[in-house]
Every structure is written in structure tokens, then in C-alpha cells.
């Protein structure tokens, strides 16, 4: 019978579990994001560098194809920690650009339209709401960060053989965890800016600004004070230092990996605090 002829009946059937409910917001958000041209464009652009890296790996494992090439060029094709750090740096930048476009549409519209009261009056708590929004960004950022990173490592392992994999397994772990850490941090920045500023354009600008302004400010402070410790507050430097440690290559000059990690945790705690203050279903003016 057609729905409109049947009339309303109370739903009495089975209910879905927590994890199914948790994935509801990400599913609908991904559908929306995949209809945005900018997101698709950045997505495609972000795949070029992994493809280039893939061809480097292929050439590196087929040196016979490089006969006659200058030694400097063949040396560049050594697959080591430096190679993966270069890959991570480029993909990290794409992750920031993607978050700039994808992030503002996550929380700002919910706040502007009072949707939080509808969510939180259902069996969806604030931490679960934050987690579901994080999953949206994780779904968008993963294909340009840790997924191609792990694919590159897997391809190199299969081409270079078991002995290379045993010797360099830490590279795979470092690439995976290093990019997951970066992805989580970028997602947190994007979500906080989306919760803080309800105007989407400004919110997107704030994501970019967070990274560029912090980089500029820390370099300026370092120059004025004649010290290197402010660099720990530069997320780009801090994550690079952590990656260098994870991939077992020479550390950068300045604060060490532990100091950088602690600074990033402190920044994350601050962002979570701001998020917690803003994500209220109702505003209380005391």
C-alpha cells in the first residue's frame, strides 16, 4: 500500500546499534562532500604525487632502466626515510587544503541552524558527535595521507623483497602513524574552526590561517629571541620533527621530537577545550 494511504504508525521494529548510529552523520556528510567540485579537484590533485612516488619506487627497483642517467638522479631514487618524509610533506599540505574546504561544512551549519538540540536529544552524546564528525574528515583525508603512504610502502616491500621489509619495517609504521597523527590534528583544527566561526568562508580561512600564521609567528619569535624553542609551536615543524624520529632519520635543528609531540598534544587539548565550549545544544547567558 502506498505510504500516503497507510497513515502514521508508531515504529515498533528493531533498533540499530551504537556503531551504526555513529556512522549515520559521516555517511550523509560524505555524500554531500563528494558533490563539491573543489573537494574532488583537490582530491585528484593529491593523487599525482603518490603516483609520481610510485614510479620512483618502480625505477628504484629497476635500475637497469636508468643506465646512462646521471648519478645524482639515481641517488635521488633511494627509497629510505628521506623519500617517505618528502612524500609525507607534500601529502600533509594537501590534507590541510582538503580540510580547509571540507571542514567548515561540518559543524558550522549545525550550530547556525540549531541542529545540535535535535542530535543531542537523541541517543548521540557530544563525544560521539565529535567522533562522528572526525570520522567524516578521516574518511576524506585518509585517501590522500596514510592510505597512499601504506600503499607505497607495500609496493616497495613487494618489489625490494622480504629482506628489505624486515630491515625497514619501521618506515611503514612511521608513515602510517605519522600521517594518522597529522590527519587527526588537521581534522581537529578544521572542526574547531568550524565550531568557532559559523561563516563557512571565514572558517575555511581560519584553518589555513592557523597553519600559516603559527608558522610565521614562531619563526618571527625565534628570530627576535634568537632561540629555536618557539618552533615547537609550529605544527609543520613539530610534525616534521616527529616524522624524522619515527622514520629514523637525522633530527631537524631545534626542539626534539618529544618536545614537539608534547606541544602538539597541548595544542590539541586547547582545540578540544574550545570545541567543548562551543558544542552546546543551547546557549546559556549567565
Amino acid at each position: 500500500m502506498a505510504v500516503h494511504k497507510r497513515g502514521y504508525q508508531r515504529y515498533e521494529g528493531p533498533r540499530t546499534g551504537l556503531w551504526t548510529r555513529l556512522m549515520v552523520l559521516p555517511r550523509y556528510a560524505w555524500e554531500g562532500l563528494m558533490q563539491q567540485r573543489q573537494i574532488i579537484a583537490i582530491f585528484i590533485a593529491a593523487l599525482f604525487w603518490p603516483l609520481a612516488c610510485l614510479s620512483f619506487i618502480y625505477l628504484s627497483n629497476h635500475r637497469e632502466l636508468l643506465i646512462g642517467m646521471p648519478n645524482e638522479f639515481t641517488a635521488m631514487l633511494d627509497i629510505d626515510g628521506g623519500f617517505f618524509v618528502n612524500f609525507m610533506n607534500v601529502q600533509a599540505a594537501f590534507a590541510v587544503f582538503l580540510a580547509t574546504f571540507a571542514g567548515p561544512s561540518l559543524i558550522a551549519p549545525d550550530l547556525a541552524n540549531g541542529a545540535l538540540s535535535l542530535y543531542f536529544s537523541r541517543p548521540l552524546s557530544r563525544p560521539l558527535y565529535v567522533l562522528s564528525r572526525m570520522l567524516v574528515l578521516a574518511g576524506v583525508l585518509s585517501p590522500v595521507t596514510w592510505v597512499p603512504g601504506v600503499v607505497l610502502f607495500a609496493v616497495q616491500s613487494s618489489l625490494a623483497g622480504w629482506s628489505w621489509t624486515v630491515e625497514n619495517w619501521t618506515l611503514g609504521v612511521g608513515v602510517f602513524f605519522g600521517l594518522v597523527l597529522w590527519m587527526a590534528f588537521v581534522a581537529l583544527v578544521a572542526m574547531t574552526s568550524s565550531a568557532y566561526v559559523r561563516w563557512r568562508v571565514v572558517s575555511g580561512g581560519l584553518v589555513l590561517g592557523f597553519f600559516f600564521v603559527l608558522t610565521g609567528a614562531t619563526e618571527l619569535t625565534s628570530a627576535i629571541l634568537g632561540t629555536t624553542w618557539p618552533a615547537a609551536f609550529n605544527p609543520t615543524y613539530a610534525s616534521n620533527q616527529i616524522w624524522h624520529w619515527m622514520l629514523g632519520i637525522d633530527a631537524l635543528e631545534g626542539p626534539n621530537a618529544l618536545q614537539c609531540f608534547l606541544t602538539m598534544m597541548a595544542l590539541s587539548a586547547f582545540l578540544l577545550y574550545v570545541l567543548d565550549r562551543k558544542l552546546r545544544p543551547i546557549e546559556v547567558i549567565s
Binding site: R10, P109, N113, S117, F120, S121, P123
Partner: protein, 329 residues
């Protein structure tokens, strides 16, 4: 029998201000399909109470239970059984009504297919069937109210909390909204909590009413019982010496109280006829300038409860919190 709402010394502070002050009551019976009206002047704590029940505000003392579930420690169980229609605009930007309801249904625990089916069904039910593929941003205020009602009932909750559901509606839309609310309780057995400043809405729909004032429950009335009592209230205005009128009325089985300047409020028991008034005033040599009689209205109950008018004689002097706490529901 599990009460719909059970409050035990519930206190809520917002900032430094105590909004709800140790209120205790048991309202409604789960599964009975009754509506409870929540009334009170501005700032009485109605919305704070609703938001505390939904877990949006933390209680600073005491406890609150919905359908037997603690609002803090068992909030997930409670929220699965509750539908909430907020007072303010609340929707997801850029979505069609049917998609919006699907999301809300799925978030409430409906499987995908059931959510889609229910979304269509409930939109037809509230009269938005033809507009279900339009984005919510293009809806009129009345349509948005209906969409909010639809999202509150899509998952078939046991309790529906409606915060000012007729706000901004014209007469026809208001009547339709109230009809839907009545159907929800009478045909679908849902319990309703209706928070409204419009006494007529509460009177038309509710079976019980709770009146809040300055963070406390000042009255809890069973409207069905009030309607059944069928007591008649007379407003009388006389000229002359009316000092003996109260005693004369008492002799006839009626009770009256003067409001000064010859104005009286009189309660007639069901077995006492209105003619008694004419006989008594004639016996006291009073000129009757004005006489109206009517049943007790919610407005009168409300005004008495918040202290704007003097209590009508014959009303039981029953402490509100006691009346509420004894589960007279």
C-alpha cells in the same frame, strides 16, 4: 506504574542563578497516552526543566527520571524513548524534508530502510507530503513547525516533549497542530509534555497541568477531574451594604469572597441553583449590577497559582508540591 517524569529535589543552576529549586513530583503514567501541560510565567523554569530532562543542563542537586530512566546515568536509554520538538528553528541546512527525517530516524536507531519509509509516512501524516522533496530552508514557519513535529515522532517515541509547538502559527495551522498532538496521545498512546505560554493550547490538549513559578511547582491540577467537577463560578457585582452576604450565601450552601467595591466571587455546588444568588441578594437588599457565571478555566487556575488573583472559595488548600508528589496523575 512507572511515572513519565519523576523529579526528586531537582535543582538546576545556570551561572550563579538558581533556576529550579529542589522540585519534586511524579507526573503521568508511562504508556497511558496522556498529555501534561507545563505552564508558568516567563522565567519560571519551564524550558530549563525540559532541557534538564534531555540532559542539556546538569542538575546541581537531586535527580530526574524519564520513563523510569535516570536522565544522567541512563540518558541513552531515556533518549531512545523520547522525541523532542524544540521551540527554536532546528534543522539541517540544505536538506530536503525527507532526507532530514531519514537522518533523524536513523540517528534514533531506525534501520536505513525503515527510516526512509517512516520519513515519507510521517511527512504525509503532518501534511507535508507534497512538499517533502523541498529543502527545509524554503519552508514557511508553519511548515517548519510541522517538520519539527515530524522529526520528533518519526521513531515512535513513548514520550514526546513539545516546546511551544504552536509558536508563530496562524489559526488553521494551530488547530491542525493541536489535532495532531491529540491524535498522538489518543490514537498512538504517546505521552506528551506540552510546554506553552498559551493557556488555550494546554486546555485543549492536556489532561494534567503543572504550573511553575520562580523555579518551584506552585500547582498541579488534573484537568480531567476539574472538568468533571463541573463547579460553577459566579462573578457578582452589587451595590449596597454587602456585609452579610457571605453568611447568607453559606446558609444556602454556596461560598463567596469579596474583592471589594461590591465585587464578589462565588462558588455554587452542582446541586445549588443560580436562582439562589437572586434570592440572597434580594434578601440582603442589594442591587445586582453585574452577574456572570462560568466554569473554572485553566486561566483562573493559572492566575490563582501564580498569585495574580485571590483563590476562589471552595478550592482545597492543597500544597502544590504535595499534590504533585502524591502521584495524582
Amino acid at each position: 506504574m512507572t511515572p513519565v517524569i519523576e523529579l526528586q529535589d531537582l535543582s538546576v543552576k545556570l551561572g550563579r542563578r538558581e533556576i529550579l529549586k529542589e522540585i519534586s513530583c511524579r507526573l503521568g503514567v508511562s504508556g497511558s497516552g496522556k498529555a501534561i501541560g507545563l505552564l508558568g510565567p516567563n522565567g519560571a523554569g519551564k524550558s530549563t526543566l525540559i532541557l534538564t530532562l534531555l540532559g542539556f543542563h546538569k542538575a546541581t542537586g537531586g535527580s530526574a527520571r524519564i520513563l523510569g530512566y535516570d536522565c544522567r546515568s541512563q540518558s541513552r536509554e531515556a533518549k531512545t524513548r523520547v522525541g523532542y520538538m524544540p521551540e527554536n528553528d532546528a534543522f539541517i541546512a540544505g536538506m530536503t524534508a525527507v532526507r532530514f527525517l531519514r537522518v533523524m530516524g536513523e540517528l534514533s536507531g531506525l534501520p536505513e530502510r525503515a527510516a526512509l519509509e517512516k520519513a515519507h509516512e510521517v511527512l504525509f501524516h503532518v501534511g507535508l507530503g507534497e512538499a517533502r522533496y523541498r529543502t527545509l530552508g524554503t519552508y514557511s514557519l508553519g511548515m517548519k513547525q510541522m517538520a519539527k513535529l515530524a522529526q520528533a515522532v518519526i521513531h515512535g517515541p513513548e514520550l514526546v516533549i513539545l516546546d511551544e509547538p504552536t509558536n508563530g502559527l496562524d489559526q488553521a495551522a494551530r488547530a491542525r497542530m493541536l489535532k495532531l498532538v491529540r491524535e498522538m496521545k489518543e490514537q498512538h498512546g504517546m505521552n506528551i509534555i506540552l510546554c506553552s505560554h498559551l493557556l488555550r493550547d494546554v486546555e485543549e490538549v492536556c489532561d494534567e497541568v503543572v504550573i511553575l513559578k520562580e523555579g518551584r511547582i506552585v500547582h498541579h491540577a488534573d484537568l480531567e477531574e476539574e472538568r468533571r467537577a463541573n463547579r460553577r463560578f459566579v462573578e457578582l457585582e452589587v451595590a449596597g451594604d454587602d456585609n452579610g452576604l457571605a453568611a447568607a450565601l453559606r446558609e444556602q450552601g454556596a461560598e463567596g469572597v469579596t474583592e471589594g467595591n461590591g465585587r464578589w466571587r462565588i462558588v455554587l455546588p452542582p446541586d445549588v441553583d443560580l436562582d439562589v444568588i437572586w434570592r440572597v441578594t434580594a434578601g440582603e437588599s442589594l442591587d445586582v449590577h453585574h452577574l456572570t457565571h462560568r466554569r473554572d478555566t485553566l486561566e483562573e487556575i493559572f492566575l490563582k497559582a501564580v498569585g495574580h488573583i485571590q483563590g476562589t472559595p471552595g478550592d482545597e488548600a492543597e500544597p502544590a508540591e504535595e499534590a504533585a508528589a502524591d502521584g495524582r496523575s
